[in-house]
Symmetry: C2
Subunit: 243 residues, 2 copies
């Protein structure tokens, strides 16, 4: 049975302007790979309602799971929750369960839980809350879409809250062999090895270090014995080409 598939949607002008380097995608990718869910696509879109709605709709129909990052804070540019509600055609308002959780973050909630902060308790109808142990303001899941914060520490905590609720597949195992020769030298042989092992995926990721060209060969698969066999084949190839 093939593994479940997933997509990530990063929402935020700060990524697209270059001001911020996105790291949430890499974190999610690593976590999903470990539990056997294949991250198949990532999109980054700007803080424009139609862009967010279109992307959510396209991704939730194609993949088993969708995860979003960003745009669920208290300021005017935090529009993700409203866009998700619109994409699902459901209502959205301050919800009592979310407001109660949010209130625990403040010493004096009557004063501190102001109108702006109450935006963080706006949850689409029928959504489940996602726990946020860092700053309380919850994320939420509706259908197959998991809506999480953009601040990395909070995003990580929310991913941890969500992971036990997902159905994983066979964890994807990988091995990496570093070749200190340019990939063009061994590419044909690598191609033969890849063709002889169709149940494994072989990637060649070139690098340049101190002016020297090399490549990391990464093999991915779900059967540890098959990966061991691939390692042997690559080690034989390495001896041949690095001499």
């Amino acid at each position: 049975m093939p593994n479940p598939t997933a997509a990530m949607l990063v929402i935020g002008d700060e990524i697209l302007s270059g001001r911020t380097q996105d790291t949430n995608t890499n974190h999610l990718a690593t976590e999903l790979t470990a539990v056997g869910i294949d991250l198949r696509e990532v999109r980054v879109v700007s803080d424009e309602p139609s862009d967010i709605i279109d992307a959510v709709d396209a991704l939730r129909k194609r993949f088993d799971y969708v995860f979003t990052s960003g745009g669920i804070g208290p300021t005017h540019d935090d529009i993700t929750a409203d866009c998700i509600a619109q994409a699902f055609g459901v209502g959205i308002d301050v919800r009592e369960d979310a407001r109660a959780i949010l209130a625990t973050n403040y010493k004096n909630p009557e004063v501190e839980l102001n109108e702006a902060r109450l935006r963080m308790a706006r949850i689409p109808d029928s959504a489940d809350l996602i726990d946020n142990p860092i700053s309380k303001a919850p994320g939420f899941r509706i259908g197959n879409v998991h809506v999480m914060a953009g601040v990395p520490a909070v995003f990580h905590a929310m991913v941890e809250s969500v992971l036990p609720t997902l159905t994983g597949g066979a964890p994807l195992l990988s091995l990496s062999v570093r070749f200190k020769v340019p990939e063009g030298r061994f590419a044909s042989r690598l191609s033969e090895i890849a063709a002889a092992n169709p149940d494994l995926s072989f990637g060649s990721y070139p690098y340049i270090k101190d002016g020297v060209f090399g490549s990391n060969i990464v093999v991915r698969g779900t059967d540890p014995d098959r990966l061991d066999a691939a390692r042997l084949a690559l080690e034989t190839m390495e001896k041949e080409f690095s001499s």
Copy 2:
């Protein structure tokens, strides 16, 4: 006149598996912002022909410029050039101009320019070459799509080759003011300031540092005088809320 728009397409299983942190997007975003081209969407797709072709087709129709990263090396998993040719409905083969450039990278091209490496001279019909001063193997431009390497040093060099050929707009200027208070406290006031300055875009990017919540307010616009006025308004707001 609005600025030209752009999209980035990152091709590679290594990003989606979490093995590699993509940094090419951030580099391109920074460079485009500086010359007044608005990066509006990023997609990361896997090494699957149909995924690459569909994404290229969707993006090249919606945006003025498309830039791709990854999948143009000599190994069996480097399929970007063929996918681009298919997306444009043109032929692809080893091209003499590309082969001549590639040959300059080898002391003994008759031997070293093997079949695998010649894959890097496969260029879609009618495409222009993009200079690669690092490792010679060229990128290419066809229509509004710029196809570049995934190795960061090579990607950066190709972006530098491409930038002078693009038509930019008004460079997007930005200023950033750091507020050492949680954004929920000043969100309503910030919203008023944003509404009073519709020609500028105001973003609030929260952070957590040493357990303290704060936010960077970033204002973007093209008129330096208007940004100065926004800075004054934010400094006044800062005095009010940090006391």
